[in-house]
Structures are given as structure tokens and as C-alpha cells.
């Protein structure tokens, strides 16, 4: 029998996209969700009879009262059970219905970092498959969720394979990788990833994950406290960004676009000042650069808002103006983590004339998102 395609009038049923959330974190509901996606030998390693269930918890993630909160918004535990971010329907209720988010970009941190890049890439690939079937599949009939293709940056060949596996599927908006690694991202070992991103016209997002052991880096070693590490997160981003600029990544891949997620932006202006100053003083060290470093940043890099700095408001607004926040920033919540930013609170921190750009317009333009969604 022929199926009837129901068509509704777009004018009556559509609403404008006025709020885009560029950082949402889904996880699995139970280990059964992921096992079938993970091939051997990795499946037995994580989920065999004597394995730890893929749990890699020896890391600093100890925000206040972790035993009670698990580091989450405590009102985000789904009523049907499971961890925060494990129930797509409840996430829809809290984000789309309660917060008024029109479109949400998912960045799953389900796959934790491993000592072995091949294993990490396998676990990441399994997570992408699960995300495609669950959050971007059966639970995305409303079309409000978009995905980020997670890759393991430490094995560029496997990363490119993973990008090729999904590229062209419109459910995925971007590629994404985690920054707790060495060497810095300007190094040629990562360049095949940038070539693939450019080839498929997919932005590449970078998002922290707080790994275990020696990879929980700061520029001076291992932090003692969660707060110490969290306050220093911008240092990862600043180090990688300076590396990409001075190694000529943006000259070599002029179509490459980078999104720095959850790393702040208030540090950007002084970094650009310093990069430009050194470039002028000794440009001969970096002959590949054709422009001032700040110009590459402004042309190629965007930043997400959460966690918004909580300084004095007039100082914050001055800094927004100097940094050109109007064009550099895209709104994010970090739902359901405890460092969540409420949209009303966060957007009100910005001067009124630039709020709509940060709330939605910049993301719509950057990612090529639809400007309306079904109002149902």
C-alpha cells in the first residue's frame, strides 16, 4: 500500500529559530546501549566478564558533593531513571520546552579517553553509531537535535576514517575532538584531520573531557584540585590556538573552521594582542603566515558562551565590545552538567543589540542551520 505523505502548511506550523544551544551532552542509559556497536577485541576489553564496563573514572571530576550530584544539575536526573542526559525525551522537555532552545547541538562525552589511541577511536566510533541511532534517529522525529562526529585526535588515520563514515549525512553538523593531548594542534600529525574537515566543509569543534592520569594536563603539570583545573581550562585552548595559528594551519587549510567549546573567550583579546605583537617583531620566523594572527582567529574561529564569566557587568560588556563578541560567540548551556548556564541569565549579560546574534543568528550562519522549526 502506498504511504500517504502528510504535508502541513509551513506558515501555520513553523516558528523562527531564536535560540540555538551549541553544547549538549547525551550519555547512554545502560551499557547494553553501547555494547553491540563496539567490535572485538574492544568489546571484551570493556564489557567482558572481568572488565570494568567501559568506566574510566580515575580522573579529577569532583565538583561539590559529587556523591550526591554526580557533577550534574540535580534537577536533570530523568524521572524514568538513568543518568542526566540519558533520556532524550526528558532532555527535550528541559531544553526545548522549559528553556526555549530551538535547536541543540549534541557533543557526547560518553567515550572517555584511553591510553591506547586505537581503543579510544573504537569506543568513540561506537558512541557515534549509538548517537546516530538513538538521539539522531528514533528520538529525533522533532528534528531539534544535531550531532557532532567525535574523533580521536591521536590517530589521524582513524579519525579521517570516522569522518568519512558520516560525512554527507545532514544530521551531523561538525567534527569534534578533545584537547587533552600533546603535541599542540598545529602539529602536522593532525593535518589530515583538518584536510578532511575542509574537504567536507564541516567545522571542527574542540571540547574538554577531563581525562584520567597524565593527560589531565595543565601547562605546568598535574592539578591538585578540580577548581584549579577548571579555572585553567582556557590554557588548553590558548595553547592549541596559538599553535594552529603559528604552524600555519589556517593558511594551509583556508576553508577550516574551528569552534572552541566551553573554554571561555575573555582570554582571547590579550592572546591576539600578544600573537600580533610577536608576529610583527619577527615575522621571518613564520614565513607561511600571510596575515596577522588575530585575523586568522577572527576569520576561522568561533567560541561558545558557557561558562560565562561572572565578573562585574560593565567590565564584561566592555570586554565583549573589544573582543567583537557580537560576531565571535555562539550561545551554549552545557546541559545537563552542573556548570550549566541558564539562557535567560546568560543572554541578559550581553548588551541588548547583540543578544539575538549570540542566541541564534551566529550559529545559524556558521552551521547553515534552518531559520524556522516545526512549532509542534
Amino acid at each position: 500500500m502506498l504511504e500517504t505523505v502528510e504535508r502541513t502548511s509551513p506558515d501555520a506550523q513553523e516558528k523562527a529559530v531564536t535560540l540555538v544551544d551549541t553544547d549538549v551532552h547525551p550519555v547512554i542509559h545502560s551499557r547494553q546501549d553501547i555494547i553491540d556497536y563496539l567490535p572485538e577485541p574492544w568489546r571484551s576489553l570493556d564489557y567482558g566478564p572481568r572488565a570494568g564496563g567501559g568506566s574510566v573514572i580515575a580522573r579529577i571530576y569532583d565538583p561539590p558533593d559529587t556523591a550526591l550530584t554526580k557533577g550534574m544539575r540535580t534537577d536533570s536526573f530523568p524521572p524514568r531513571g538513568g543518568a542526566p542526559g540519558s533520556d532524550p525525551e526528558f532532555a527535550y522537555k528541559q531544553l526545548i520546552e522549559d528553556d526555549g532552545v530551538d535547536l541543540a547541538i549534541l557533543m557526547s562525552l560518553q567515550a572517555r579517553l584511553r591510553a591506547n589511541a586505537e581503543q579510544e577511536a573504537a569506543v568513540i566510533a561506537a558512541t557515534n553509531s549509538w548517537l546516530a541511532d538513538v538521539w539522531l534517529g528514533e528520538h529525533n522525529k522533532h528534528g531539534r537535535f544535531y550531532g557532532s562526529i567525535r574523533i580521536c585526535p591521536d590517530d589521524a588515520a582513524l579519525a579521517v576514517e570516522e569522518i568519512e563514515r558520516w560525512a554527507g549525512d545532514p544530521r551531523w553538523l561538525q567534527i569534534y575532538m578533545t584537547p587533552e593531548t600533546t603535541p599542540a594542534f598545529g602539529n602536522p600529525k593532525y593535518h589530515p584531520i583538518y584536510a578532511a574537515a575542509e574537504k567536507h566543509e564541516l567545522p571542527l569543534a574542540i571540547h574538554i573531557i577531563r581525562p584520567m592520569g597524565q593527560r589531565l594536563l595543565t601547562p605546568v603539570g598535574y592539578p591538585a584540585y578540580f577548581h584549579e583545573h577548571s579555572a585553567g581550562i582556557p590554557l588548553y585552548y590558548a595553547s592549541h590556538l596559538a599553535s594552529m595559528v603559528f604552524e600555519g594551519v589556517f593558511e594551509k587549510y583556508p576553508g577550516l573552521r574551528i569552534v572552541l567549546v566551553e573554554g571561555g573567550f575573555t582570554w582571547l583579546l590579550p592572546l591576539m594582542w600578544r600573537m600580533d605583537a610577536y608576529w610583527r617583531e619577527c615575522k621571518s620566523e613564520v614565513p607561511a603566515l600571510k596575515r596577522a594572527p588575530s585575523e586568522y582567529v577572527r576569520n576561522h574561529v568561533r567560541f561558545t558562551t558557557q561558562p560565562l564569566e561572572e565578573s562585574d557587568l560593565s567590565a564584561f560588556r566592555k570586554l565583549c565590545e573589544w573582543t567583537d563578541a557580537e560576531n565571535m560567540l555562539m550561545f551554549s548551556t552545557d546541559y545537563p552538567h552542573f556548570s550549566y548556564d541558564d539562557p535567560k541569565w546568560a543572554l541578559n549579560r550581553f548588551p541588548k543589540p547583540i543578544r539575538n546574534k549570540i542566541a541564534a543568528e551566529n550559529a545559524i550562519e556558521f552551521y547553515g542551520l534552518p531559520t524556522t522549526v516545526s512549532a509542534a
Partner: protein, 126 residues
């Protein structure tokens, strides 16, 4: 309307709390700490979270030789979003008390616990 029935005394033991959703602009949480009743607005001054659904807990103090001491168990409310700590008795933040939530008077009339949103806890104590 400034008075709200919260519950019966024998149904509201120490260590428990109740939300009176119709009181105030965002609802009011009422807490029994060691037999005394305290009431605060269900609104975090940081980002507007429903404060009173947070965990009731304690807080730490620095001891000698880098010891960390646990104290005031049952008197501190943690915001459900960012874990800001509030002293339930005063409504003040545990960090440098520059932020505070509104407190309200609670009294016992016979077996009934009554929330009075026309007065603060401070006014009641005076």
C-alpha cells in the same frame, strides 16, 4: 495572602523540608533543622534556579595541618544547578556572604506550622 499552612508538627520531623509552591513569587521552602523551622525563597540569586530542590548538606572548614573538617551538617542548602551553598538559617551564601536569598518567618500555632511571607526570619527573631 501572607499566611500559608505548611503541615502538622508531627508530620514534619527534623531534617526534612517542604515546598509551598503558591507562596511568594517562586514558592517558598520550609526546613526543619533540629526542631526549629526556617523558610527561604525558592529562587537562587545566581541564575534563578529552583533553589529548594537542591540537596540539604553541610560544608567544610579548614583545620590544622591541611585537615578538612565537615561541619554544619543539615544546615546548608546546595543549589541544584551550580552547587552554590546557602546557610538555610540566614539565607546567606557560605562563600563571602555578598549574595543572599529572602527568608521568611515560620511559627507554630497549635499543631499547625504556619509560613508568614509578610515577615522575614530576622523580623521574627527580633
Amino acid at each position: 495572602m501572607a499566611e500559608y499552612f505548611v503541615g502538622k508538627v508531627d508530620e514534619f520531623p527534623p531534617g526534612t523540608s517542604r515546598l509551598v509552591p503558591e507562596a511568594g513569587k517562586f514558592g517558598v521552602g520550609v526546613f526543619n533543622i533540629g526542631g526549629e523551622y526556617y523558610a527561604i525563597a525558592n529562587y537562587c540569586p545566581h541564575q534563578g534556579a529552583p533553589l529548594c530542590v537542591g540537596h540539604i548538606t553541610g560544608t567544610t572548614a579548614a583545620g590544622a595541618h591541611n585537615d578538612v573538617l565537615w561541619q554544619r551538617d543539615g544546615e546548608i542548602l546546595r543549589c541544584p544547578w551550580h552547587s552554590w551553598e546557602f546557610d538555610i538559617k540566614t539565607g546567606k551564601t557560605v562563600f563571602e556572604p555578598t549574595e543572599r536569598i529572602r527568608t521568611y518567618a515560620v511559627r507554630v500555632r497549635g499543631d499547625d506550622i504556619i509560613l508568614d511571607t509578610a515577615r522575614s526570619a530576622l523580623e521574627q527573631a527580633a
